[in-house]
Amino acid sequence: MTRIVWNEQEFDLKNLKLEHGTLSGTVNGEAVSLSVVTDENGRIIAAGTTGGRAVPAAAVTDGEYTWVQWRGRTEKITFNRGRDAGAGETGGDGSVKAPMPGKILELMAESGGTVEKDQVLILMESMKLQVEIRSPIDGTVGNCPVSVGDMVDGDALLMEIVPQKEAAEEK
C-alpha cells in the first residue's frame, strides 16, 4: 500500500501494476486503469487519451514530493515517508516508527515472526483514533522495544523489520 496525500486529502493506493501498456491499481478501494506510453527504458512518458491521443506526462521527485504535469494540470503530491516503495529513497529500511504520539494497544507480530509488506504489525491509539501500523517491507520481526500499554512519542521506533533479500518488489 502507498499512502498519497494531495491537497490535504489522503488516498490509499494498492496493487500498482503496469502490464501491456496499461497501468492499473486500486485507489481508495476503487479499481482504476489507464493506458500509458513508455519509452525504451520503461519510463512512462505519456498517458490517457484526449480525443484519441496520449497526453505527455512529466514528473520529478524531490524527497517525499513528486511533481507531476499531465493533462493541463500540475500537482505536487506527497508520498508518505517510509510507506512508499518508490524513488528508492526508503531502500530496505525496515524501521517502523510511530506516525504520531500515542498508546500501544496491541502488538500483532512477534519477534522472529515472518511478516509481509502492508501486514498490520501494531495497533496504536492516538487522539481517540485507532491507527494500524503496517510493515513497510517483507521480512522478519527483529527488535521490538515497546510493549502493550506504552505511551510513545511521534517518530519513536516501534519495531525493526529485517528485510528478506529476495522479497524486494522493486526490480
Binding site: L16, A58, V60, W67, V68, D84, A85, E170
Partner: protein, 494 residues
C-alpha cells in the same frame, strides 16, 4: 562605420540571452555581468559569452556598468529592457565615456520618460493623448473642476511611473483627494518624484502598441501593432500581432501617428508607441517606450525582421533603411509570458528551484528563456521564466499551436501561470478576440483552476511516475565560490 568588438549587456535573464545571440551572430563578443548567485546557473546558459562576476546590485548601478564596460574594452552597451534601459543619465554617462549606448539618444529618452512632457509631444504630433491634465500648481478645487470636465471615472497616475505603480482609479470627485495623496507617496517611493496627473479612464480599453524603428537620417518606419490587452496587475502576459480589431486603415493611422511622434524627438532605433483604444476604435496616445520591448518577438515573427539585429547594426552604422512599403506582415503571432507566480494567490511570485524544465519545440514555436533544469527563480528579480511565441498562418492556427506549446512546456518545482494561460487560451471571449484590459478581472471565476477533486487516474499515474523518475538534477558545482567583483572567470577571449 565604427568598430565594435565587444558589447556589455547591462541586463540579465532571457533578454540578455536574446541580445547575446544577436551579437554573436555578428561576430561581436557579448560581455555579461553575472551576480554571484546567478553565476552557477548562468555559466552554462551564457557559456558563449565573456562572463564577469558582479555584485548583486549591478544591473541598477550605472557607474559600475560603465566602469565594467571600460575595463572590459567594450565599445558599446546594450541595456535590454527594464533596469537602466530608459534611464537618460545612464545613456548620457555611456556617451560621455565614449561608449555607444544601443538605444535612442539620451535626449529622446528623457523627453519621453516624463509622461506629461510626452503627452505634449504627442499633441504637437497631432496625436491625441487620453484627455487629462497635470495637477502641478493647481489647488484642490481646480483639480476637482478639471477632473469633472474630463469626466469620471478618472485615473490618477505618476508622471514618472510605469507598470501600474502609483496609479489609482477614481470613480467620484469625493475620492479624488485621497487618491492623489496615495499616488504621490507611491510615486515618490518608486520613482523619486511626486509629480502626478489625472486622466480620463477609458472604459473597456484595449492596449495596442506600434513598433517603430528609426533608421539614421530620420527615416522612421512602423512595424505593425501588438495587442497587449491581456494584463494582470497592469502588466502584460499575452501579446499578439496583428490585433484582432485593427484593420489596414487603422494600422496606417496609428502607425503614422507613432512615426510622427518619433520624428519630433529625433528618435533613433527601436521604440514602441503605446495607445489606448476604446470600444469605438478611437486611439489615444499613452506613452512611448524608448527601448526594445519584452514582446518584440511577436513583431519579428509576423514581419520577418530582427529588431535586435537592427539595433546592433544601427550602432555599427551598417543598418540599411527599409522603406515603409517593404514592411509587410504575414500570419499571426502570440506571445505568452510564463511566470513563477500563483494565479490563485493574486499572481504572487512563487520563486524557487526548477526541478524539471523542458521547452516545447516544433513548427511555429519559439521560446525565449535563460533557465534550465536546476535553475532558481530568484525572489529579487522579475519572476518571468520564459516567453513562448507561437506563429500560425491565422489567429486560429496560432491559437492551436499555442495550446500544444503550452501543454508540452514542462516546468516542475515552482508554481507557474502556465495552466492559467491555457485557461485564458480556451476562454470563448479570448478565442473570439473580445478583449479589454479588465479581461482577467472580469472572468476571474471562469479562469480559476477547476475546484474538481483529483481523478484517481491522476494519482495512479503519479505513483507510477514516482517509481520511474529520479531525483531532481543537480547543477554541476562551478567550484568557484569566490565573491570578488569582476575577476575574470572564464577563459579570456582575445
Amino acid at each position: 562605420m565604427v568598430t565594435i568588438k565587444r558589447v556589455l549587456i547591462a541586463n540579465r535573464g532571457e533578454i540578455a540571452r536574446r541580445i547575446a545571440t544577436a551579437l554573436i551572430e555578428k561576430g561581436i563578443v557579448p560581455v555579461l555581468p553575472l551576480t554571484d548567485k546567478e553565476y552557477k546557473q548562468g555559466v552554462s546558459i551564457f557559456k558563449d559569452c565573456r562572463i564577469v562576476r558582479a555584485p548583486d546590485n549591478i544591473y541598477l548601478d550605472g557607474q559600475a556598468l560603465v566602469a565594467l564596460a571600460k575595463s572590459e574594452n567594450c565599445q558599446a552597451v546594450h541595456p535590454g529592457y527594464g533596469f537602466l534601459a530608459e534611464n537618460a543619465k545612464f545613456a548620457e554617462s555611456c556617451e560621455q565615456n565614449g561608449l555607444i549606448f544601443i538605444g535612442p539618444p539620451a535626449g529622446s529618452i528623457s523627453l519621453m520618460g516624463h509622461k506629461e512632457r510626452a503627452r505634449e509631444i504627442a499633441k504637437k504630433a497631432n496625436v491625441s493623448p487620453v484627455p487629462g491634465f497635470s495637477i502641478d500648481g493647481l489647488n484642490p478645487l481646480e483639480i476637482k473642476e478639471m477632473a469633472e470636465a474630463v469626466g469620471f471615472p478618472v485615473l490618477v497616475k505618476a508622471s514618472m511611473g510605469g507598470g501600474g505603480k502609483g496609479m489609482r482609479r477614481v470613480d467620484s470627485p469625493d475620492a479624488l483627494a485621497d487618491a492623489i495623496r496615495m499616488s504621490k507617496s507611491e510615486s515618490a517611493a518608486y520613482f523619486g518624484s511626486e509629480d502626478v496627473f489625472v486622466e480620463k479612464c477609458i472604459v473597456k480599453p484595449r492596449h495596442i502598441e506600434i513598433q517603430i524603428f528609426s533608421f539614421p537620417g530620420g527615416r522612421t518606419v512602423y512595424v505593425g501593432e501588438r495587442e497587449c490587452t491581456i494584463q494582470r496587475r497592469h502588466q502584460k502576459i499575452i501579446e499578439e500581432s496583428p490585433s484582432p480589431v485593427v484593420n489596414e486603415k487603422l494600422r496606417r493611422e496609428m502607425g503614422e501617428a507613432a512615426v510622427r511622434i518619433a520624428d519630433i524627438v529625433n528618435y533613433i532605433g527601436a521604440g514602441t508607441v503605446e495607445f489606448i483604444v476604446d470600444e469605438n476604435l478611437n486611439f489615444y496616445f499613452l506613452e512611448m517606450n524608448t527601448r526594445i520591448q519584452v514582446e518584440h518577438p511577436v513583431t519579428e515573427e509576423v514581419f520577418g525582421v530582427d529588431l535586435v539585429a537592427w539595433q546592433i547594426e544601427e550602432a555599427l552604422g551598417t543598418v540599411e533603411a527599409v522603406p515603409q512599403k517593404k514592411i509587410r506582415g504575414a500570419g499571426h503571432a502570440i506571445e505568452f509570458r510564463i511566470y513563477a507566480e500563483d494565479p490563485d494567490q493574486n499572481f504572487m511570485p512563487s520563486p524557487g528551484k526548477i526541478l524539471l524544465y523542458r521547452e516545447p519545440s516544433g513548427p511555429g514555436i519559439r521560446v525565449e528563456s535563460a533557465v534550465a533544469t536546476g535553475s532558481e527563480i530568484f525572489a529579487d528579480f522579475d519572476p518571468m521564466i520564459a516567453k513562448v511565441v507561437v506563429k500560425g498562418h491565422s489567429r486560429q492556427h496560432a491559437l492551436e499551436r499555442a495550446m500544444l506549446a503550452l501543454e508540452n512546456f514542462v516546468i516542475l518545482g515552482v508554481t507557474t501561470n502556465r495552466e492559467f494561460l491555457m485557461r485564458i487560451l480556451s476562454h470563448p471571449a479570448f478565442r473570439a478576440g473580445e478583449l479589454d484590459t479588465s479581461f482577467i478581472d472580469r472572468y476571474r471565476e471562469e479562469l480559476k483552476a477547476a475546484d474538481a477533486p483529483i481523478e484517481p487516474e491522476w494519482l495512479l499515474l503519479a505513483a507510477a511516475l514516482r517509481k520511474t523518475t529520479g531525483k531532481p538534477a543537480q547543477l554541476p558545482d562551478s567550484g568557484d565560490g569566490a565573491g570578488f567583483y569582476y575577476p575574470p572567470v572564464n577563459a579570456r577571449i582575445p
